[in-house]
């Protein structure tokens, strides 16, 4: 029965591919809802009938929507994201400059948040019901039920206004050396870490508690193993799958957080680019950014599912 795992994984990847296709259709369809004629809006004052007709021809607006969807999809697949409506630059060029910044922010946050969240999740599960557990759990519920911008606002108030450790709103153009870079970087990373570690602690804690209820843990208790040994040697290896699943799922919360955090701290990343593009209604840029984010999101959720499949020993035999 060793064929079961590859089959399940291939099935999961196929679902991801279909999902991506449906998402791309939804994103394309949303852009078609723009009221009015795109060519007229772009030309503004200069919208003579001739100019509108020329632009429509140049933008291929007269062909049927389904054909334009196919062309757009083919373009995406080959890395041709189209031209920005606003400044006539290739979208790929606009995004590539910003993508590294966003990835750097995400990577730093991951490096900080994951170890801290795992440590807190496992220790709270070990001391379930203690004061420490209750304080952390209450904190998590508060973080989860408030908007991301409130966490950012409070972080600014605490670290910049009252403690005066960090600049209030980061300005990327005032960087002189590593010290400034760290100071500019600190606030967005702190905020994002709070947002994603709350989910991660909660899910890790639930996974470990679930494992601690298993019969083999009772067996370990009965044979007289110490609590540390029970958790580290017996519970954790069996909870690795759910925990890795929880980490991948929580990382997908980075996306929602990054949009707010880049806006509030003026961080030059892709999310800020996209929010700015919404105010200028630069649809090709918005579509490309949306597809990029959905792609990242899908990779993380698919990873979470694949890990869950791989970690299930019952499928391995």
């Amino acid at each position: 029965m060793s064929g079961q795992i590859p089959l399940l994984i291939v099935g999961r990847l196929a679902i991801a591919a279909v999902t991506l296709l449906i998402i791309s259709f939804a994103v394309f369809a949303a852009a078609q809802m723009l009221p009015g004629d795109v060519a007229e809006i772009l030309l503004g004052q200069a919208a003579t009938p001739q100019a509108v007709a020329d632009l429509r021809a140049a933008m291929d607006l007269d062909s049927p929507a389904l054909l334009r969807y196919a062309n757009w999809l083919a373009g995406l697949a080959t890395g041709d994201f189209g031209m920005s409506y606003v400044n006539r630059m290739p979208v790929a060029e606009l995004i590539s400059g910003r993508l590294a910044n966003t990835l750097l922010l995400a990577a730093t946050t991951t490096l900080i948040a994951v170890p801290v969240a795992l440590l807190l999740g496992i220790t709270t599960a070990m001391n379930q019901g203690s004061l420490y557990d209750r304080v952390i759990t209450t904190g998590i519920i508060s973080v989860i039920s408030v908007p991301e911008f409130m966490i950012a606002t409070l972080a600014v108030l605490i670290f910049a206004v009252w403690l005066k450790w960090l600049p209030a709103l980061s300005l990327a153009n005032e960087i002189h050396g590593l010290g400034d870079l760290l100071r500019v970087f600190a606030m967005p990373v702190i905020t994002l870490s709070f947002v994603i570690s709350a989910q991660m602690i909660r899910m890790t804690r639930a996974a470990v508690i679930e494992t601690l209820k298993m019969p083999f843990i009772e067996m370990a208790v009965l044979k007289g193993a110490s609590r540390g040994r029970i958790v580290l040697r017996h519970a954790l290896p069996n909870a690795i799958g759910p925990i890795a699943n929880a980490v991948a799922l929580s990382l997908s919360y980075l996306l929602g957080g990054v949009i707010i955090v880049e806006t509030i701290f003026n961080y030059p990343g892709v999310a800020k680019l996209m929010v700015d593009a919404v105010s200028t209604r630069d649809l090709p840029l918005i579509q490309s950014c949306a597809m990029l984010f959905c792609f990242g999101f899908l990779i993380l959720t698919t990873c979470a599912d694949v890990i869950a499949i791989l970690a299930n020993p019952r499928l391995r035999t």
Binding site: I22, A26, V146, G256, I259, A277, R281
Partner: protein, 279 residues
């Protein structure tokens, strides 16, 4: 939400203190959404303080905003937008989610699989991104926001209601009803619906919290409720300039959102088990 309130008074004796406190805060904001502007100490749109980002004082209970308007009055007015839009959206989302979910469970077969696959795909678009793309395309107005938020949260409500209905559908009384030759509509309305009502109402509360958070997030990005109208998210955005001075105008609307969302969460956590998870 009225259903929940009715439900808790019926089971009132078994609620603990935290649940009652949460319920009272929710009731407070519900009343403010209805009559808040009438109780406001100052007209929300009038500039009454010559100083901007003024501090808390006897005259201005929560200070003044970036134009010198009374922020307390503006929060009372904002309750109407935040609570009203979210409530409208959550009702539409849960209604369509539950109807579709029960139908899918009762009919089953390809209808069920196709609908589930499609809604799962919609669900895998991050909600803020979905909001950004739609607002970019059609612009932002209150009806658009209500429908947008409802569409974003329908797949989740569907998934939840379908899972419950599939469980209920496996019960003996459903098999009996089918054997009696009842029609699908009868089975959905008379047999499945009464057995999933409690958990669905709890789910409605949770989804309400998500919607309040998303609406505030969109408004904070300047894509939600548009000036001159302002919900709590827009109030934070408007007054963000006061952050370096720790102005109460930035912090107060944040706490208004937090008090609403945390109390809804706490109320659901402290609901009597009988309503919360009967399945």
């Amino acid at each position: 939400m009225t259903n929940q309130i009715r439900g808790t008074s019926r089971f009132g004796l078994r609620m603990n203190a935290v649940g009652i406190a949460a319920l009272l805060i929710m009731l407070f904001w519900a009343i403010m959404a209805l009559i808040g502007p009438m109780l406001a100490p100052h007209p929300p749109g009038d500039i009454i303080d010559f100083d901007y980002f003024g501090p808390i004082s006897a005259e201005l209970w929560l200070g003044s905003d970036y134009l010198g308007r009374d922020i307390f009055s503006r929060i009372l007015l904002g309750a109407r937008y935040t609570v009203g839009i979210s409530l409208g959206a959550v009702c539409i989302a849960c209604f369509s989610g539950v109807v579709l979910g029960m139908t899918a469970a009762a009919i089953g077969g390809w209808f069920d699989s196709a609908l589930s696959r499609f809604l799962d795909a919609l669900n895998s678009i991050p909600s803020k991104l979905f909001g950004l793309v739609v607002v970019a395309a059609v612009g932002s107005s209150i009806p658009v926001l209500v429908i947008l938020l409802a569409v974003i949260y329908t797949p989740g409500a569907y998934r939840f209601a379908r899972a419950l209905s599939v469980n209920a559908n496996a019960m003996d009384y459903i098999a009996v009803a089918r054997a009696r030759g009842e029609r699908t509509l009868y089975i959905i309305v008379q047999e499945i619906l009464p057995n999933i009502t409690g958990p669905v109402l709890a789910d409605l509360g949770l989804r309400f919290v998500f919607i309040v958070l998303l609406l505030s997030g969109l408004s904070f990005l300047g894509l939600g409720v548009q000036p001159p109208e302002a919900d709590w998210g827009s109030l934070v955005r408007e007054n963000l300039g006061g952050l370096p001075f720790a102005a109460p105008a930035v912090i107060a609307p944040c706490f208004a959102i937090a008090s609403l969302t945390i109390s809804v969460n706490l109320l659901i956590d402290n609901l009597p088990v009988r309503i919360r998870d009967r399945s």
